[in-house]
């Protein structure tokens, strides 16, 4: 009897060991996801996190992962708090086979992670946010911020305004106001706009709004008094909704009010109702579900009961942004795996993947993303991508965003000079020698 028990026990141990060995043998790609599903910015954090998770779940369910290796998505809650974000980074970087990359979804967290990740040799993909001068790959080896930066976007807005005013020369004497979140994120476009104001002769009015931005009456009173010809907004969360309502309330023309791509989601305009009609925002990807990838997500993820969120909200602007972030990251992992012929890449190999990323029209079509966004090519020197942005406009009646321009090129003369200046200063402060990118 005793011998039987021992034999059974040994058998169980052997079986467990076998299972564990099997698990260890299967290659796994650990991708931490810093999310904010709680806190004051949760309404925006949730759709992004859902789109991000759904895309990786789609790859696991439909393709068996990336190049045969399953993605292990590790969510960590930051509540859009920089300190919590850094804790998330420290807690997740060693998980599983080691974190392959980070998408911090916060400029404040990105600023903190840049030096840390560079030491730990883990790529940070701050997609269209974070430190703009990180676009200089010669200095920021581990940071990528394609497809466009805040500075690209600011210059595109000025181009659009120039076009609407009948030519850039007509900007002289015009007044442009910037209503911004009083944080590292909100302050990012100021230098570019100041340079552009010198270049084109418009005056710039800066109007910061403190977190969270629930009370903005004095800001909009100043706009009412100064009557700027155009108003730009770098807002986030409740600040956007209140600003759009206040603008409508003082009778500010919505088609002269342009938000950054973080101020251009359904969440931002719906609370204002019809008053938000005509409001503009920058973006670099489509909205809605008219893309094959959404049908795949519906079939392989939601119909299988593993969707991250509400089925009805697939295709919202921030959902699609999370989705494209995941798609580009997955392509970077794939590129790194192919470059190094491995099914279990290291973070450094994924960084190589990022630096050699080429998602052209044909690849976008294969991914079910044809017409969704622009093709991108990342190089050793250029981590900021093509820097192109288009504008979308809110149709309050149909409750949808419409693409109203083609992709604009940024003002490279101004933006590149600023990137060189800022990244050079960073290199000097940190005793970095720029890489030779050939």
């Amino acid at each position: 009897m005793m011998m039987k028990k021992i034999a059974t026990g040994l058998g169980a141990v052997a079986l467990t060991a076998g299972l564990l060995a099997g698990t260890a043998l299967a290659a796994e790609l650990t991708v931490p996801s810093l999310v904010y599903r709680t806190g004051p910015y949760a309404p925006n954090g949730i759709p992004f996190a859902n789109g991000y998770a759904d895309y990786f779940n789609l790859l696991n369910a439909r393709d068996g992962g990336i190049e045969g290796s399953k993605v292990n998505l590790v969510e960590c809650e930051t509540a859009y708090n920089t300190q919590q974000g850094v804790e998330c980074y420290e807690n997740t970087k060693g998980q599983g086979t080691g974190a392959l990359m980070y998408q911090p979804l916060s400029t404040g967290i990105t600023y903190q992670l840049i030096p840390k990740a560079s030491v730990d040799k883990i790529p940070v993909f701050s997609m269209g946010y974070g430190r703009t001068s990180a676009a200089n790959g010669k200095i920021f080896e581990w940071v990528f911020n394609f497809p466009a930066t805040y500075w690209d976007q600011a210059s595109v807005f000025v181009k659009y305004i120039g076009e609407k005013e009948g030519g850039m020369e007509n900007l002289k004497g015009k007044k442009i106001a910037l209503v911004y979140h009083n944080s590292a994120y909100g302050k990012e476009p100021i230098r570019t706009l100041e340079k552009l104001s010198e270049k084109h002769g418009f005056s710039l009015q800066l109007l910061p709004v403190d977190h969270p931005g629930q009370e903005q009456k004095s800001t909009w009173l100043q706009i009412r008094r100064e009557r700027p010809d155009w108003t730009l907004m770098w807002g986030w969360g409740v600040m956007n909704q209140v600003a759009i309502k206040e603008a409508a309330s003082i009778g500010y023309p919505m088609d002269h009010f342009i938000g950054v791509w973080w101020s251009g989601s359904e969440n931002d305009v719906l609370p204002a109702g019809d008053a938000a009609n005509g409001y503009l925002s920058g973006t670099f990807h489509g909205s809605g579900t008219d893309f094959p990838v959404h049908a795949d997500i519906m079939k392989h993820v939601y119909d299988a009961g593993s969707g991250a969120g509400d089925k009805d909200r697939i295709g919202e602007v921030l959902y699609n942004r999370g989705l494209i972030a995941a798609a580009w990251q997955a392509e970077a992992i794939r590129t790194g795996m192919k470059m190094h012929s491995t099914d279990s890449p290291t973070a450094a190999q994924v960084r190589d993947g990022f630096e050699n990323l080429n998602v052209d029209e044909a690849r976008l079509k294969e991914l079910g993303l044809e017409g969704f966004t622009i093709p991108i090519t990342i190089t050793c020197a250029n981590h900021g991508g093509p820097g192109k942005v288009f504008l979308q406009q809110w149709d309050a009646g149909a409750k949808k965003w419409n693409k109203v321009t083609d992709f604009y090129d940024a003002d490279r003369e101004v933006v590149d000079a600023l990137i060189a200046e800022d990244s050079g200063a960073y290199a000097k402060e940190n005793n970095l020698t720029p890489r030779d990118c050939g």
Binding site: D210, S218, L221, V238
Partner: protein, 318 residues
């Protein structure tokens, strides 16, 4: 020297002069209206502090929870606004009973800091419960409260005043009148005042502390619902709504923690002060000064009246 002084001591007043009368009036009116909105939140703090000595950190979250419940009932069950309000009031009363039974009954005779910490825990609990029950999405309050600028004032004298804020001001006036009648004329109100004056004396004449505290929490819940509706209509109901409590703190410091009129007058002073400061001194200081300015203003008042404008002067023998 002139360049350093000009933006702070000359330019703001020069601008005020050139802005007279319309724009300056708009700034003051906006301040008054914003102040009323702050007062709505501050009132909830005052009620609980007055009756029980508890500084209720959860008051902002109570406003959020009430607004979430209201919009949740309307959106998820298709209830009309009036029914949703009645149900939310009932839920807030039930919540008041639960808070007293499950939390504060177990903390009788504890130090004020312990009671404060309990409200801190309550705030996080209610925030989480609200999230689980109603989700984190931005919700629109569809009660038909008018919004946007008053066209009548805009077309007539050319004044820009928000309709929502006029509604908030009228609502606050009704609320304060109702609270005053409740405190002065009803039996429970008088009992509540007795408890606020002296717990032991009140108990010695047969007033049940527990019952009174439930009533206080229920009334604070009702005030929170009103504040939640007004702020929720302004910005959409979302989790940042709980942070409106931060706007009420300088109001309380200034008006006193125990005075209903103090909450109103304090709110008005803070509202007008911060708007004038932001519009006229903000540009010289880089903008976004109104939040800290409100606290500065409150602290300046404290130098002369440590108990706040309407607070009770406490003299203790040591």
């Amino acid at each position: 020297m002139y360049d350093a002084v000009y933006p702070f001591l000359i330019e703001p007043f020069a601008k005020m002069w050139t802005d007279m009368p319309l724009f300056f009036a708009e700034t003051v009116i906006s301040g008054v209206m914003a102040g009323v909105m702050y007062s709505l939140v501050a009132l909830g703090f005052v009620l609980i502090y007055k009756a029980s000595g508890i500084f209720n950190f959860a008051q902002g979250v109570l406003a959020l929870f009430a607004a979430l419940t209201l919009t949740g009932i309307m959106d998820n069950f298709g209830a009309p606004g009036w029914l949703a309000i009645i149900l939310t009031v009932a839920i807030m009363f039930g919540l008041a009973w639960l808070i007293q039974k499950l939390v504060f009954n177990h903390l009788i005779n504890q130090e004020p800091i312990i009671l404060f910490m309990a409200t801190l825990g309550l705030a996080y609990f209610l925030e989480g419960a609200g999230d689980i029950m109603w989700g984190s999405d931005v919700k629109v309050v569809n009660l038909g409260i008018p919004q946007g600028a008053s066209q009548w004032l805009l077309d007539g004298p050319g004044l820009y005043v928000e309709k929502l804020e006029i509604v908030a001001a009228v609502t606050a006036a009704i609320l304060v009148t109702a609270l005053t009648i409740f405190f002065q004329k009803t039996r429970i109100g008088r009992a509540l005042r007795a408890v606020a004056d002296d717990h032991q004396a009140a108990m010695s004449v047969g007033i049940s502390l527990e019952k009174i505290w439930i009533v206080v929490w229920a009334v604070a819940g009702l005030v929170a619902l009103v504040a939640g509706i007004m702020w929720g209509t302004k910005s959409g109901v979302q989790f940042s709504l709980s942070l409106i409590a931060l706007k009420a703190l300088p109001v309380l410091i200034l008006g006193g923690f125990t005075s209903v009129p103090g909450a109103i007058v304090g709110g008005l002073i803070i509202g007008v002060g911060e708007k004038i400061a932001e519009v006229y001194w903000g540009p010289a200081l880089g903008g976004a000064i109104e939040n800290w300015f409100a606290y500065m203003l409150a602290l300046a008042f404290l130098l002369f009246r440590p108990q706040g404008l309407f607070g009770e002067k406490i003299i203790e023998r040591v």
